[in-house]
Symmetry: C2
Subunit: 352 residues, 2 copies
């Protein structure tokens, strides 16, 4: 739970009882999950600090949730008791709009219900997320997690994973394509792994030369240091696709210049103002596109988990106890994690 | 020709003799054209005023050229003496790169040779454009103009036309799509005509309520005044495609908000800084794209002329004498033309 200063505090289960949605008695389509691990997304930090001006406290962050099914409603068909399950950024949507009908619940025209800090339709209550011991979610918003995957390292797939997997799929990345992944953090390191597994030629694009070795270990074929103007010039007009994972405003123009004719750069991190401003000429020359993409739909999230099981892809994580969540937030602010903190929720339970 | 102050002056043919490229003796693949009409593009104004810092004087502007074939080289097959012909923004390219091989000479990797103010490869000379009485151009860069078209009104098709036609084709605009054309000028009025002929539902988006009636006459189904925030809200998330013809920097965010899921806005006018800056959230929400597009290839320019002949599409023009070109420039600066000035080149020839 988040206190008035906006920092996460260890939450006792009993404190959550008034907030019914995430802990409701499971209905016929619901899955009741004991949370085992929850990743710490950069978004959690933004929400805790009210960076976007729409935080409501108290808050229970967390939308990279992996757990074990405790019980299922009578109409649930995909999951059974004891299965491993994942819950990502969404727990509900209207189901009726064109986006929902196209399995793109994240773009629901009537408003996706996010896993935390999101108004529950028809109530004055908010949803509560995964920094907790249990959660109840309707089956449509739960994915099967293969038992062969390292569970703690699978948690970040629910946000960092699907956020990078979805655009690579949507823009049909594959063999013969030169793909750049911009920014090596929680999202970027997953982008490298996925683009490589999809058989693209992968170039890690980073400001930090000290990340080069790690990028190669993660699967990059090359590393391009974006502050090296000679290197940038050598790679000019050569990329089919750029996955831009930088989490805040930055200059798009030098990256746009890397795209070849009809190339596309997709933003998945930066929601705020992109300064200095984009020059029209940066995209008019070469018929380039700059697009955005938000996580992925539930069907695609399941597809990604199946892809990860097949290719044995998980995140690189550092597991922490819930008691150390504020230190983890401080380190995240300094980009000091390779590449995702994951909370072991066993540390939340009373020792028996 | 342009003098040192950057304004067009009436050019005597003899003054051009030292500049050989556009007036060379026709080679076996060349077409020698007597220029009948030349449109005045906003680009001419930018180039004359050196707005982009790359103007070289003396300059002969003009890249919306329609004329009559005077002679053809032995290997020319598409055109014969007496045919009507068009020349647009390009007169040469490398022919070997991937872009040229894909009939996209405007994105030539080795440098398109533009119709004027462009270095002629292997020389220190510049090309000279259509504010003149004649021009010699290789067949690949000349299109057939149907004799059924109003020639003076066909001249702007060579730039304003193809610049709007090409993106509408590339992004597969057709029946069942809601298309917005932003900005009603030389480009915008062609965008309306083409989008309508392609059977889209066309909305003219403009800051000027006084342009509404004219937009409907040109073929728009609706007019949206972009300064009317209630109207903008009513149209939010409803457009499949936006053709943005605004010729200078502006705020993209309100327009991005008009796009529906997976919608695309294509910039064809603004080469400079787009301020206030784009917000990442404007495109991440709804997986929107912002792209650019530059004129069109020569094959597509011919396709457009055939489309125009079939649908009887030309520009709305105001014909002027070459002696009034500077007044036309002044009026263009104030957006005072509906919608394209075209110079009648007969006014350049000595009266007989």
């Amino acid at each position: 739970m988040i206190n008035a200063l906006g920092y996460a505090v260890q939450s006792a289960s009993s404190a959550l009882e008034p907030f019914a949605f995430s802990r409701r008695p499971p209905g016929p389509k619901d899955v009741h999950i004991e949370i085992l691990y929850c990743g710490i997304c950069h978004t959690d930090l933004h929400q805790c600090r009210n960076d976007w001006g729409r935080s409501t406290y108290p808050m229970v962050p967390g939308h990279e949730i992996v757990g074990r099914v405790k019980s299922v409603g009578a109409e649930v068909t995909k999951l059974k008791v004891g299965d491993f399950a994942g819950i990502g950024c969404m727990v509900d949507s209207c189901r009726r709009c064109a986006a929902c009908q196209a399995d793109l619940e994240q773009y629901c025209e009537n408003g996706t219900v996010w896993t935390y800090n999101s108004k529950i339709p028809g109530t004055n209550e908010n949803t509560f997320g995964g920094y907790s011991d249990q959660i109840v979610v309707e089956e449509r918003f739960v994915v099967n997690v293969a038992s062969t995957l390292d569970l703690k390292a699978a948690a970040p797939l629910l946000c960092a994973g699907i956020t990078t997997y979805s655009p690579l799929r949507h823009w049909k990345i594959g063999k013969g394509q030169k793909v750049g992944v911009i920014g090596l953090g929680g999202l970027g390191h997953m982008g490298i792994k996925f683009a490589k597994a999809m058989q693209a030629h992968v170039v890690m694009i980073t400001t930090s030369p000290d990340k080069a070795k790690d990028a190669m270990r993660l699967g990059a074929d090359e590393v391009l240091i974006s502050r090296d103007s000679a290197a940038m010039a050598r790679h000019a007009k050569s990329f089919h696709f750029l996955l831009n994972t930088i989490p805040n405003g930055h200059d798009l123009n030098p990256y746009a210049g890397l795209l070849k004719l009809d190339g596309t750069m997709v933003l998945v991190g930066a929601l705020t103002a992109l300064t200095p401003p984009l020059l029209g000429g940066s995209i008019i020359h070469g018929r380039r596109s700059i697009a955005g993409s938000a996580i992925g739909g539930m069907a695609e999230t399941q597809e990604m988990f199946d892809f990860c099981a097949k290719h044995n892809i998980v995140s690189d994580v550092e597991v922490i106890a819930i008691q150390h969540v504020n230190q983890a937030f401080e380190r995240l602010l300094k980009n000091d994690v390779r590449y995702r903190f994951v909370i072991d929720m066993a540390t939340l339970r009373p020792k028996t």
